[in-house]
């Protein structure tokens, strides 16, 4: 447990720095945009209605979806404007968070300006102020408390929503939260949440203090607030220790196996003299696009996923033919290159308890189809929508008595407590072995191969040092070893951190290399 805490806290300063940087940039950009918008909205009621309506509309989009939407949008923009428009990382996070911050700032500015005492406005006009003088000398100062309240709301929202930016490749304290939720490592979740809350509270407090300093003309209060904000900004902008080692970025989707493999690759690259950083929790399609565009150098993908989602193929092929097809397709489309299979599969497999298998004499999916009318299927929320299920149903004709949609972590519990009789397990999941489940064979080959494939951007693939490290991993991990590493971080008792599991996996591979 102490090791886990140490790993969690070691990453906090750097993640907090990135978190604060993207949040500050978004709040700053939102302020720049809101200034003219608020003045225009103040002077034109119809414009105000339209601007506030649009800002509210943005707010109704869930934060996670808004961030995700910027990926395809910026991908399209980058094909027109060139590669400097990066569809992953800082830019999409900045734009999404800026849009999110607009509403509270704009709404409060418009409300504040509209609420200025009409007597003061009449006097301002009667005394001969121009429109700008009236705005600067009377309207803005009197609306300031309301405007600042809006900025504070926006700051707290933005810093909170920045935890979600991790899903589009912008590191933030959300990295800890997502990884912690996935592996049920609550210390990580706590570290991420507490860090994010501390940032939000200090920024909010600094702005509140600055406002008090200005309103009560307290120079000292103002100076302290200014120092606080300057210190936070300096922390966010602090130049990172320049690393002379060549830099490699490793991407990972949002589950245990991906985190472990990314750390394993990173561990080995660092040993070979590279500096490594990670982009965790990327969506499945996002990871591939990121490798293809070169924003991520290396990632692990799965044959069946690429086959269906990227090659758009629905035909069934033997695994060697699939892998060869994927390699050929990558050569022809974009900058991703297939390095090779890692040696194990993470496929969907129908799993039952040993007792069920014996009682109903289940060995393969034909047997399961026979028994299906008496059984309840427990499965993750997406399986029944996937082509694999349609293929299985077409090949075997599955008519289950009922189905139950469960989050992957709870599927195994449902099987143990007899709430489901059969589940769609993952072949490299440690719980399959731990719970001594029986995986049913697929003689018709309906479920495609899900070989774990090492994929790299063409530049990284061409780097001799990187290539040597990656080649050393080809065929090096069997499904039993991967399952055990996965189990180390997923289990409740004697839980290990992702880094520890990666180090263990590395040691296994080295022992094997030594034996050869």
């Amino acid at each position: 447990m102490t090791g886990e805490w140490a790993t969690a806290f070691a990453r906090v300063p750097e993640l907090a720095r990135e978190h604060l940087l993207v949040s500050f940039a978004a709040i700053g950009l939102a302020l720049l945009l809101c200034a003219p918008l608020a003045v225009a909205a103040h002077r034109n009621r119809r414009f105000a209605a339209v601007a506030l309506g649009l800002a509210s509309l943005v707010q109704t989009i869930p934060g996670l979806a808004l961030l995700a939407l910027f990926f395809p949008v910026l991908l399209a923009v980058s094909t027109v404007l060139g590669e400097w428009v990066e569809p992953l990382g800082f830019l999409p996070a900045l734009l999404a968070l800026t849009l999110y911050a607009l509403l509270p700032i704009l709404r409060n500015a418009v409300t504040g300006l509209a609420g200025v005492d009409p007597a003061a406005l009449e006097a301002a006009e009667g005394l001969g102020m121009t429109r700008w003088q009236k705005l600067r000398l009377v309207e803005l100062p009197l609306a300031l408390p309301t405007i600042v309240a809006g900025i504070r709301t926006a700051a707290v929202w933005t810093i909170g929503a920045a935890t979600l930016a991790t899903t589009i490749g912008q590191p933030s304290l959300g990295d800890l939260i997502f990884a912690g939720l996935q592996t049920q490592a609550w210390t990580l979740v706590l570290a991420g949440c507490a860090g994010s809350a501390a940032l939000a509270l200090s920024v909010d407090g600094a702005i509140a203090l600055a406002q008090r300093g200005v309103e009560r003309r307290q120079r000292l209060t103002g100076a302290i607030a200014g120092l606080m904000i300057a210190a936070l900004a300096a922390f966010a902008l602090w130049p990172q220790a320049h690393d002379n080692r060549p830099q490699v970025t490793i991407g990972a989707k949002g589950f245990s196996e991906q985190y472990i493999l990314a750390r394993l690759i990173g561990l080995r690259l660092e040993r070979a003299g590279y500096a490594v950083d990670y982009r965790d929790n990327l969506g499945s399609g996002v990871l591939h696009a990121a490798v293809a565009s070169g924003q991520v150098d290396i990632g692990v993908d799965y044959a069946g996923t690429l086959w269906t989602n990227e090659l758009k193929r629905s035909d069934r092929q033997p695994r060697e033919a699939m892998i060869a097809g994927i390699a050929a397709w990558m050569q022809g489309a974009g900058g991703a290159r297939l390095i090779g299979p890692l040696g194990f599969e993470n496929a969907y497999a129908f799993a039952v308890t040993r007792a069920t298998a014996e009682r109903l004499s289940l060995g393969d999916l034909h047997d399961l189809a026979r028994a299906a009318p008496m059984m309840t299927l427990g499965t993750d929320p997406e399986f029944l929508e996937r082509p694999e299920w349609r293929a299985v149903d077409a090949a075997y004709g599955m008519g289950f008595a009922g189905t139950r949609s469960l989050s992957p972590g709870f599927m195994y519990d449902a099987l143990a407590s007899n709430e489901a009789d059969v589940i769609t397990a993952y072949t490299s999941d440690g719980r399959v072995a731990a719970d001594r489940l029986v995986l049913l064979a697929d003689p018709e080959g309906a479920i495609p191969s899900y070989d774990a494939l090492l994929v790299a951007h063409v530049d990284a693939a061409g780097d001799a040092g990187v290539r040597q490290v990656l080649d050393g991993l080809i065929g090096a991990i069997d499904v039993r070893t991967m399952a055990e590493a996965n189990h180390m971080v997923d289990r409740v008792a004697d839980k290990r951190s992702i880094g520890e599991a990666a180090a263990w996996l590395d040691a296994q591979i080295r022992a094997q290399e030594g034996a050869e």
Partner: protein, 261 residues
């Protein structure tokens, strides 16, 4: 009126002035000249158009038709912001800026003209309206209604205007404060040689401090006379109604006081 003044244009002149609120005509046509140095009271019931008339001078209300001249120059052809800074304006709602101290409020006209009002001048103006120099650093929220309006008058006088426009300046004050302030304003008018146009709904106040009273009714000037003439012969029913109130009050009070003397 001196011989010299007779050759100069009136301080304010209205020519065929028409005003409306939206499609609703509320005032005019008005033809009127306000002589330099005079203290003119504009009296009428609510909705008679008296506020619209005074506001039209500096285009706080933009007229529908006709023209307004200040010192013989058409308001349309002058820089409105500059014109407003040249004219003292006192509002019924006072309109002190709550985030500025009294010195900053008094100096605001100079500030928007790109200038600064010396603290000595601020104290001079405070003295002029009967306030202690210590008021300079206070905030408007700490002032009574009467004190606030004294600051309002000081602010209007800060740039030494020749013309003072006062829109119900004492409307929100208690009768004692109101009476004292009205008399002080009249004496300032005389000492500084101002031309003053004051809107009020209080005929007694108008009768006691103005040189000339204009009665407005339904957007028309229905009476235009010095106080003594107006009280003797109001002429129009609306003017008669307005004059009847202070006349009856005076008589009633005299009757109450009579037996004792």
């Amino acid at each position: 009126m001196t011989a010299d003044a007779a050759h100069r244009p009136p301080a304010i002149r209205f020519e065929r002035l028409l005003c409306s609120h939206g499609a609703q005509p509320v005032l005019g046509p008005i033809d009127l000249a306000i002589a330099r140095g005079s203290f003119v009271a504009l009296v009428g019931a609510s909705g008679s158009g008296k506020s619209t008339l005074i506001r039209s001078i500096t285009h706080l209300h933009v007229p529908e038709a006709g023209r307004v001249e200040v010192d013989g120059i058409d308001v349309v052809s002058s820089d409105i912001a500059k014109l407003r800074r040249r004219i003292g304006y006192v509002f019924q709602s006072v309109g002190l800026f709550p985030h500025m101290d009294i010195a900053a409020n008094i100096g605001i006209g100079a500030r928007i003209g790109g200038d600064r009002l010396a603290i000595g001048r601020v104290e001079e103006l405070l003295a002029l309206v009967g306030l202690d120099p210590s008021f300079a650093t206070r905030l408007p929220a700490s002032l009574s209604g009467g004190q606030a309006q004294r600051v309002g008058v000081a602010r209007a006088l800060a740039l030494e205007p020749a013309i003072m426009l006062m829109d119900e300046p004492f409307g929100a004050l208690d009768p004692v404060t109101r009476d004292r302030l009205a008399r002080e304003v009249r004496s300032l008018h005389d000492r500084l040689g101002l031309t003053t146009l004051m809107v009020t709904h209080d005929m007694a106040e108008a009768l006691l401090i103005a040189d000339r009273i204009l009665v407005l009714d339904a957007g028309q000037i229905v009476a235009d006379a010095p106080p003594a003439k107006l009280i003797a012969n109001p002429g129009h029913p609306a003017a008669e109604a307005l004059v009847a109130v202070p006349r009856a009050q005076a008589a009633a009070i005299a009757a109450l006081a009579g037996p004792r003397t």
